[in-house]
């Protein structure tokens, strides 16, 4: 059964027809060709498919594409316009080697964006809880934590107007 879905992804409007069986992660990748969202486990454990739905991180493998109708989504593609203009969080991950294979990175970066929106100066403990929904099988997390600490410093040192805000909606906590 096909259903029409109207979504806003990275501030762009899309009208697509999807099979009711399609999950949101597949819609983003296969229909909208936004392949920055990765699928790891497909069952809500690994967080590689993390996107922002109405301003809050969710796992897009656990949401039916049809159920995203009328919603606003931000994917990793929405954070920067290209390798020359990376988001400060992405830059911090590059600078601090916060990745090895990179498969978990889009999810990690979006979870970091959520964390720093909720808590601009997180403790190490808060960082580890903040990324508890994202598995990394390469790094052992140490450099990821360091990247997030550095990203927080960079963002906090900038004047308020130029701070990158998480997608629009206020935090739910």
């Amino acid at each position: 059964m096909k259903v029409p879905v109207k979504v806003t992804v990275n501030k762009k409007n899309y009208n697509v027809e999807v099979d009711t069986r399609m999950i949101l992660a597949d819609m983003l990748r296969d229909e909208l060709r936004l392949t920055g969202t990765h699928i790891g486990c497909g069952t809500g454990s690994c967080g590689a498919c993390t996107v922002m739905l109405n301003g809050h991180t969710v796992k897009s493998c656990c949401i039916l594409a049809a159920d995203a109708d009328g919603q606003e989504i931000t994917t990793i593609e929405g954070l920067s316009t290209g390798a020359q203009h990376l988001h400060p969080i992405q830059e911090a991950f590059v600078e601090n080697q916060g990745l090895q294979c990179g498969y978990c990175t889009p999810g990690m970066v979006l979870s970091t964006l959520q964390l720093l929106t909720d808590k601009p100066n997180p403790t190490e403990d808060e960082i580890r809880h903040g990324i508890a929904g994202n598995l990394c099988r390469c790094t052992g997390y140490q450099f990821i934590v360091k990247s997030i600490q550095e990203a927080a410093k960079t963002i906090n040192s900038k004047p308020a107007a130029s701070k990158p805000a998480a997608a629009a909606v206020a935090s739910r906590g």
């Binding site: 059964m1 259903v3 099979d19 009711t20 069986r21 399609m22 999950i23 597949d26 497909g42 069952t43 809500g44 454990s45 967080g47 993390t50 739905l53 809050h56 991180t57 969710v58 796992k59 493998c61 656990c62 949401i63 039916l64 049809a66 159920d67 109708d69 009328g70 979870s111 959520q114 964390l115 809880h129 903040g130 508890a132 929904g133 739910r172 906590g173």
Partner: protein, 283 residues
């Protein structure tokens, strides 16, 4: 892609949704947050013919206070439960329980109604709901009824819900003044279901003391330990609480996270911990 074909509905009004559940009966599956349902469908373990999503029904997302009672809409997300000031003031152990559910992403999407209706034996809310004397409102196109939590939980992922019925509201009496409460859980990996979890509410002056235990039976279990705490919290009282928790866990199951004996032993420990913590918070 989920392999099994199904029909999908995303009504915007509760009345419309209840009519759909009435029409499709047993064939329909309710999609709340989807944190359990969607993976189960992806894995092919559940193959509903019809899925009715409640994510677009705004009228089921609320937290109100009314006549000594907290009323929580079934579609309220865990992140809201965790941060809501009314819940923090009148049922702080529910906020504590919500902070353990899944991870950040899961808490943003998962709902209290979905979790309670899913009735996992080690879920975070049931022990809390038992000790605070919560009840659930079940609505269908034909009417509504209110069921106490202990009567709602029927068995392993089994509830009192009938085909066509939906859990629409959680009703929680505010904790009495001066009562102390605590929720704690044992887990190896953050984000996993608890191996054992426990909640306690102790009324001022040890007037009453109740324990809720999860992970040690087909459903969460309510244990009244008022008699054990007649003289306050001392070693003998805690031994008594521990014995009661052990006895109540006689139907404990085993899985790869812990066998039945381990769970029973941990029920002793966690019963004591929440009792001590709740007593310390009593005023």
């Amino acid at each position: 892609m989920i392999s099994q074909e199904f029909e999908f509905h995303a009504p915007k009004q509760l009345s419309e949704a209840l009519n759909l559940l009435q029409r499709y009966g047993d064939d329909a599956k309710v999609l709340a947050g989807g944190m359990s349902l969607v993976p189960l469908m992806t894995l092919g373990l559940l193959q509903p013919k019809v899925v009715v999503s409640f994510n677009h029904i705004r009228e089921l997302d609320y937290v109100n206070e009314d006549k000594g009672m907290l009323r929580i809409g079934a579609m309220t997300r865990h992140s809201t439960i965790r941060a809501n000031p009314l819940i923090g003031r009148h049922c702080p152990l529910l906020s504590e329980a919500a902070s353990y559910v899944g991870d950040v992403q899961v808490r943003h999407r998962g709902t209290i109604g979905g979790s309670v209706a899913h009735a996992d034996p080690a879920a975070d809310y049931p022990p809390v709901m038992l000790v605070v004397g919560a009840q659930v409102k079940l609505q269908s196109a034909k009417g509504e009824r209110v069921v106490k939590m202990e009567n709602f939980l029927k068995g392993l992922m089994q509830t009192d819900l009938l085909p066509g019925e939906l859990l629409t509201e959680i009703q929680i009496p505010k904790l009495p003044d001066g009562a102390g409460s605590s929720y704690q859980r044992l887990h190896r990996v953050e984000g996993n279901f608890a191996i054992v979890n426990a909640a306690a509410v102790i009324e001022k002056g040890f007037k009453s003391a109740r324990l809720g235990l999860g992970g040690v039976g087909e459903t969460a279990i309510l244990v009244d330990v008022t008699k054990r705490l007649g003289k306050g919290v001392n070693d003998e009282a805690l031994r008594g609480v521990s014995d009661d928790a052990y006895a109540a866990s006689h139907d404990a199951y085993g899985d790869l996270n812990g066998d039945a004996d381990y769970r029973k032993a941990m029920a002793r420990i966690y019963a004591q911990r929440v009792t001590k913590a709740a007593a310390a918070r009593m005023s």
